[in-house]
């Protein structure tokens, strides 16, 4: 352990000459919503929606859908192929509508992993997530989760890869009890529903795994065929947080998922304790 090339390189950023680069965030108590996303439109940020597809022509999507992909299982292997702007269910379009409503200049990338093929959904979901991370997008909105034990290590690796590549994963907490992934991984922003009808109101819960709560009860949403509906589910709470993350990253490009989480906690609607 005497030669320099055996020394770990991990200490380099902490060298006195290099440490200035680390000054990125104001003190936590100085961070407010105005600093975090005041004036932001979401320009320059692309968000992946891994779901049932998005109806590009739906008024609520406002023409912000720039790419549509279908993950199809061909010969047992998931293939990511170009897709038309369709949504067989309405769920992906609903997520898109929520995000566009809060982030008018966001760019949406749809990955359709639900559709005619009922087999291999977990594998298709993993393939879509991998593609989104490498594309790369800045944020991925995940309504789905997998209970499959065999996919646990796959999603674990993808969640880590997203973290180290600074792609923020926002996942709906599962509505029913039981472990499901990736919503329970520590680097993921996991969101459950609260009933207060305000898209901008979200709460931080210091007891993981579900760390954030956003509006998810009786949410008016876009639905299939240019329609609308009103829905109650955790998977419509998640896009509200995805939208806020997109606004933050548009104003402050390059933030890490850890920093984003800290900012969200700092500006959440929780009661504040005195300094």
């Amino acid at each position: 352990m005497t030669t320099t090339n055996e020394l770990p390189a991990w200490s380099e950023p902490f060298d006195p000459a290099a440490r200035d680069r680390l000054a990125r965030l104001p003190a936590l108590e100085m961070i407010d919503r105005e600093w975090a996303w005041g004036g932001s439109t979401g320009a320059g940020v692309s968000v992946a929606i891994i779901d049932s597809g998005i109806e590009g022509g739906h008024p609520a999507v406002g023409g912000r859908l720039i790419e549509s992909w279908l993950v199809d299982i061909q010969g047992g292997e998931p293939q990511v192929i170009a897709d038309s702007e369709v949504d067989l269910f309405g769920h992906g379009t609903a997520c898109a509508g929520i995000i566009v409503g809060m982030v008018p200049e966001v760019e949406l990338v749809s990955f359709r992993v639900l559709g005619s093929n009922l087999k291999g959904k977990g594998a298709a979901f993993a393939a879509a997530l991998r593609n989104a991370i490498h594309r790369p997008v800045q944020v991925a909105n995940l309504s789905l989760s997998s209970k499959s034990e065999t996919l646990f290590p796959v999603f674990h690796e993808l969640a880590d890869e997203a973290y180290f590549r600074s792609v923020v994963l926002v996942s709906a907490a599962n509505n029913v009890s039981g472990a499901s992934y990736p919503s329970l991984f520590s680097s993921v922003i996991s969101v459950a529903a609260h009933p207060e009808p305000d898209p901008w109101r979200f709460y931080y819960n210091p007891e993981p795994p579900v760390e954030f709560g956003a509006w998810g009860v009786d949410v008016p949403v876009a639905w299939r065929g240019g329609g609308r509906s009103v829905a109650t589910v955790n998977s419509f709470a998640a896009p509200h947080v995805t939208a806020v993350v997109a606004l933050i990253l548009s104003k402050h490009p390059g933030l890490t998922p850890f920093e984003v989480k800290a900012i969200l906690a700092a500006v959440a609607n929780n009661e504040r304790r005195a300094l």
Partner: protein, 263 residues
Amino acid sequence: MAPRAAIDPVLRAALLTVREVALRGSVASRFMPLSEERLLQSIVDATVRLFEAEAASIALLEGVPPRLEFRVAAGSKGAGAVGMSVAPTQGIAGYVFSTGESLALTDVAADPRFDRAAAERTGYVPRSIASMPLVNDDKTVGVLQVLDKRTTPSFTMRDLELLAVFAAQAAAAIAATRVQRELPTLLATSLRQLEPGMSNDRVRAIVVAATEGLDVDEGTPFWALVDQVSRLRDLGESELELVGGILEAVAAHRAHRKGARGR
């Protein structure tokens, strides 16, 4: 029953054990028929009552190509759904089935592509729906749906959590009854686990030999006897004693007659 000639003598003992297991499974099921339909019916009945809903129903994935088939329903507006089926890749039930995630929607009819025609065939078009997947292990086998609470226009997160409890119960009931229905598959799986190198033909031959004649729906004298014996469960202590006494007397009589003839 003798194993078939095609079966290796080494496996003979194993086969007899397997047949014993299969026989016990079948006898148990004949004794106490776990009617899937009846269990599921009781679950939708309870769901309707608890939620004060207009209807509740359970659809299971059945057939080739697979469709979500409405097997049971309850509530004043529920009856029309039974026997209907929908594609598992469309609509609210399809979404819930495909994702394994629950969903509650209000103003359902406001969705222009809501399957109004299908809803009208049931004689009822709902305003709100809560739909919950029925999950066994990793596999979604169907959906539990509740239509229109009478007390409130929409479903809450608490409703969804409560509904999840009923869904878990329904999934467990389905798993229990399918153990019987899928006995051959179960046996084949266990054989493959015991002897991974065994060929498919051989597994099939053993399963056929083990389960042959064990169809509980058959009206053979063996099952007629099982049925009669199963009626003993309903008897009281003194009646059981009486039946036991009669059987003993019949046996003694036969033994006596046999002895008399032999003399």
